[in-house]
Symmetry: C3
Subunit: 128 residues, 3 copies
């Protein structure tokens, strides 16, 4: 944790550099100061099939889920969500110039009692 | 929201038109009368690798998650789930004629306090 | 249920046989004695794009979610998670010899009131 996953309709590929977006989100997450560098995992999954709203071919979506460990304040969670959502909205501003795009984000907390992790990146980065 | 995501084993592709299924689920969701057209996002993701039950090559699955905003009654949620599950079961009835298929659905609610959305489709459809 | 899903960065493909890992996890899940054979669905999804930690090209992740029906004891859940996490860690031990890999697992319970299922595999296996 934190885990940031995106799902998107494949018709976004012609317009959005998803690797660049992943990198941008990673930087924005780190800029909040709430998360350790070695823990941040941003990724994106392309939907093979979809049907959105009135089913026009141009309709597209990007849906994001941010899973973070429990223990942060409600204010910190809210602030992190707003910061990330604003950054992604700005990154995708050309998409919002069409009447065919929907963006969404949900934050979900991970229960430490029911999660496990092992991270070989932390020692490298903590040692710097 | 509402977000409807499907995951399936790639061996279903030879038997099921996933784009048609996405479109059908979208229509069933709208038929419940509980959701706004511009908000409905149905999508499907093909698993690259899998291992199911006794690991026969023919074994296949389709697993669905329906995420909806909080605030609907327990009865409405239950009714929506039953309606959608029945419709998908009917759509896939040939799959159930084999002893190799498992279907599942879970509804999960989205906390408005920890979610964000921006939708350029709504203005177009609300203006009609 | 139980549903076991994995997400991973595509750069793991050169090093990990994901189908073999799915099969191994299935066997480990069954070895706990807590789940019925016909219900186990393990699958994996490759991320198209990602950005991890300090964004080195070699950085890789595998994130797992195990969704199980409510009703098991906290101890059973904990034990199942530890057993599976240890088995996957062992399977991937060469990955941990690099300072570029992060593994994670979260268990989540499924509310019976908000879930539906239909399984044509059960009758075949129960009849054996």
């Amino acid at each position: 944790m934190p885990h940031f996953r995106m799902e998107y309709s494949a018709n976004l590929e012609a317009h959005v550099d998803m690797t660049a977006l992943c990198g941008h989100v990673r930087q924005v997450i780190l800029s909040t100061g709430l998360f350790e560098t070695g823990a941040v995992r941003v990724r994106a999954f392309k939907a093979d099939s979809w049907s959105i709203a009135d089913d026009l071919m141009q309709n597209a979506f990007l849906d994001m889920e941010f899973r973070i460990g429990k223990g942060r304040s409600a204010e910190d969670r809210k602030q992190a969500g707003e910061t990330i959502f604003a950054a992604v909205s700005e990154f995708l501003k050309e998409r919002f110039e069409t009447p065919h795009f929907a963006l969404s984000l949900e934050i979900r907390e991970i229960d430490a009692e029911l999660s496990w992790k092992k991270n070989a990146i932390h020692p490298r980065l903590r040692g710097n």
